[in-house]
């Protein structure tokens, strides 16, 4: 500026220059669209900001769609599962996942079909082997095959399923279990219990957590100390024995529905503590905000401060926390059922399906019995991804 003797311009390092070039290319178009979006956000409420920020989290969005698919499948289980979860087939004990063929043995395309097949104990290994005759019939797998009438979600009368075969030979997407029951149908039906136990459980722990955490944070003093010590007490008890003790108290003669609710209750009685701490922490920090003091100076009562400022202030955090709490509930139910003290036959959950996979010998021969675990893992992981995205979006004002 003062003197113009410029030293020879040294080049930037290659990786830096590459980044600059990439950014310039990326931003040389679409400026108007970006500006427009910025202006919309200007008069957007917190929820709109959150949604916009969440929408940018690709992994969370994909997870959200996948999880919605899970729940749709669970709700429409009767329609999507080709068979009743209790339907047995003597010929197909421990049948492996059906091989679905598309081309006829002579090479022509005929659409999906399965061969007639059955399983039989191998007298040498005592293992069920799949037997397919050389000239076995081809059974086409079709969409919307006619079935016996049933009620979808208990109300809509239906007589078709999503897919299946039209003959007596069933199609086992994920194999069959020790009684020749279709594992896929069982998993789909089990997802009802497993996915919704999370909601029920979280709802109850939500009420407990918000109420006790809120009181603890807002009232403070002795009440706070008592509630905090209670939380520490509950938290310090080892979880699995506590669950087992509580679950063992469920009378054996209770029906499936009753057991289900009892399990939900058990899980939430243990699960509220984390939420209570989150709520208390948020309230303690928000109470110090100037706008809360401003409200008090404006004659706001405690009730108004709680309802107008504090609750809206931590709702977003609650949603995040709940999203992360649900998979814990799912895992809890799976654990209990796996141990045989949760959902009992004839009701099925992912955990109770996994009970069959407890035996190493069985498992080594029929690996597909582990499929329910894959669904548990998938559901838990999806929830955590969503929770991750929500956490980033929860405070749109944080820089």
């Amino acid at each position: 500026m003062s003197d113009t003797t410029t030293s020879a311009p040294a080049p930037r390092p290659k990786k830096v220059q590459d980044r600059i070039d990439r950014l310039r290319a990326q931003y040389s178009t679409g400026g108007d669209r970006r500006r427009q979006r910025a202006e919309q956000l200007y008069s957007a409420s917190q929820w709109q900001l959150m949604r916009a920020k969440f929408g940018k989290h690709k992994l969370a969005m994909v997870s959200l769609y996948l999880l919605i698919l899970f729940y749709v499948v669970a709700i429409l289980a009767d329609f999507i599962a080709p068979y009743d979860p209790q339907e047995r087939s003597r010929q197909h004990i421990f049948a492996p996942p059906s091989a679905i063929h598309f081309f006829a043995p002579d090479g022509g395309f005929v659409g999906p079909y399965v061969f007639d097949s059955r399983t039989r104990v191998n007298p040498k290994t005592f293992k069920y082997d799949l037997i397919v005759a050389d000239n076995a019939d081809m059974n086409p797998v079709v969409l919307f095959p006619k079935t016996d009438p049933y009620l979808l979600m208990g109300v809509i009368p239906m007589s078709v399923k999503l897919f299946g075969t039209t003959s007596r030979q069933p199609v086992f997407l994920l194999g069959a279990d020790n009684l020749g029951r279709d594992l896929f149908s069982r998993i789909v039906h089990a997802s009802r219990v497993s996915l919704f136990v999370g909601f029920g459980g979280v709802l109850i722990s939500f009420v407990l957590g918000v109420a006790l955490g809120g009181i603890s944070g807002y009232v403070g003093g002795k009440v706070d100390v008592i509630i905090q010590r209670t939380i520490e007490l509950v938290m310090s008890v080892p979880q699995i024995p506590l669950w087992m003790a509580l679950a063992a108290a469920i009378p054996a003669e209770w029906t499936g529905i009753q057991t289900y609710f009892a399990i939900t209750l058990v899980l939430s009685l243990v699960g509220w503590t984390g939420l209570a701490r989150v709520v208390r922490g948020r309230i303690l920090s928000m109470r110090e905000e100037d706008y809360v003091m401003a409200a008090r100076i404006s004659s706001a009562s405690s009730w108004s401060i709680i309802t107008r400022h504090l609750i809206p202030g931590f709702t977003s955090y609650l949603i995040v926390h709940i999203t992360i709490a649900i998979p814990f509930m799912i895992l809890g139910e799976t654990t209990l059922s796996f141990l045989g003290i949760g959902i009992r036959a004839p009701d099925v959950s992912w955990g109770s399906l996994l009970q069959q996979a407890q035996d190493v010998v069985v498992l080594s021969n029929y690996v597909w019995l582990l499929w329910p675990a894959a669904f548990v893992v998938a559901a838990v992981v999806l929830f955590n991804f969503i929770g991750d995205g929500l956490r980033d979006a929860a405070d749109p004002y944080a820089k």
């Binding site: 100390v225 401003a294 100076i297 404006s298």
Partner: protein
């Protein structure tokens, strides 16, 4: 104590107010140290007047301001507010419920324009909040009143449904000012109301506060640390040090002829905007004492260049040395202290 000739015009009298905090270190700590954040402070504020309270961080000036609007409860002393009827009520003695009947008479402007507005509420909801709790008004009436104050502070109807994140720091501060004005209070405590703002925006807000004062006869308690700002806006200045009031008087008098060595030191540290003028060479050594364990006698004695044995032993009396001129220093009458250097070439004329 603050008894003064021009007291008749007062709308607020703070009488020997103290605020102690117990620094809690675990449950059942018996000998928890007591922090005397505000220690026996007395002052009054006249109608339509700005009283600035200056001091460094830790001087207790914010705690004093908050005690006055009862954002926190003072431990001892009286905060007397004069009502329209002419009778005095002691805010410090009222219950929260009784207080709510009177809260519309005073409000507060905060330092941080970001944390003082609830990010989840629209401008309308933020400004209307005091109105909703203090007066029974219809929504239409509330809307009319909110627009009225919005325009007073330089914003407008178009901003009603915006959220705080759409505004700059200066605009947010205007929203905060509008909220404090909506119930037509008599007294507003401004807690460092401009110190978080950019210099060019500071001037806008300072002018706005001055205009509002002239228009509505508002009294301000202006808590600040920037002497240049205080000199512009305040009629009188009170100086605090470690919870105690050390000096109080007319702005000009304090700035030209301080009576307390701390005031002198404070004035000499003010950065000069004109590099041709040197600051008076006096620099304060050390840092403000901790209110947990303040020095004996006069709290200022460890840093005071004029301190004697007496200052270590004896707490100086808060006395009226001249009419309207209060000071707490044993040697206030003897010391000849330097005020802020006056400029002989006013900047504005130079430029015009």
């Amino acid at each position: 104590m603050s008894g003064q000739a021009s007291d008749d015009n007062a709308i607020l009298r703070v009488e020997q107010v103290s605020k102690q905090f117990v620094s809690r270190s675990g449950i059942g700590a018996r000998n928890a140290p007591v922090i005397r954040a505000v220690d026996n402070v007395s002052l009054h504020i006249n109608a339509g007047e700005t009283l600035a309270v200056v001091g460094e961080s830790g001087s207790g000036k914010s705690t004093l301001g908050r005690s006055i609007v009862r954002a926190i409860d003072p431990s001892q002393g009286a905060v007397q507010l004069k009502l329209d009827t002419g009778e005095w009520v002691d805010l410090a003695r009222l219950s929260e419920r009784q207080l709510r009947q009177l809260r519309r008479h005073f409000h507060m402007i905060f330092q941080d324009p970001y944390s003082s507005l609830d990010p989840r509420m629209t401008v309308f909801d933020i400004i209307a909040e005091p109105l909703i709790y203090n007066e029974r008004v219809s929504r239409a009436e509330a809307r009319r009143r909110v627009i009225e104050v919005l325009e007073l502070v330089g914003l407008g109807e178009r901003h009603l449904n915006h959220y705080p994140h759409a505004f700059s720091g200066g605009q947010r501060q205007r929203i905060g000012i509008a909220r404090s004005l909506i119930c037509k209070p008599r007294l507003i405590v401004c807690d460092e109301a401009v110190s978080a703002l950019d210099v060019s925006v500071q001037a806008q807000i300072l002018n706005l506060l001055k205009d509002l004062q002239q228009r509505f006869g508002l009294a301000f308690m202006f808590i600040a640390h920037d002497i240049a700002v205080v000199e512009f806006i305040a009629h009188r200045i009170a100086v605090m040090y470690v919870g105690r009031m050390v000096e109080l008087g007319e702005t000009r008098a304090i700035i030209d002829r301080p009576l307390h060595p701390y005031t002198e030191a404070l004035l000499s540290s003010v950065p000069m905007t004109d590099p041709t003028r040197e600051r008076s060479g006096k620099r304060l050594s050390g840092e403000i004492a901790s209110p947990i364990n303040p020095p004996s006698g006069c709290h200022f004695h460890p840093r005071c260049p004029y301190a004697t044995e007496r200052c270590k032993a004896e707490i100086p009396q808060w006395r009226e040395l001249e009419p309207g001129r209060f000071v707490a220093c044993h040697f206030a009458a003897e010391l000849r202290l330097a005020g802020m250097i006056q400029s002989h070439t006013p900047h504005h004329e130079l430029h015009k």
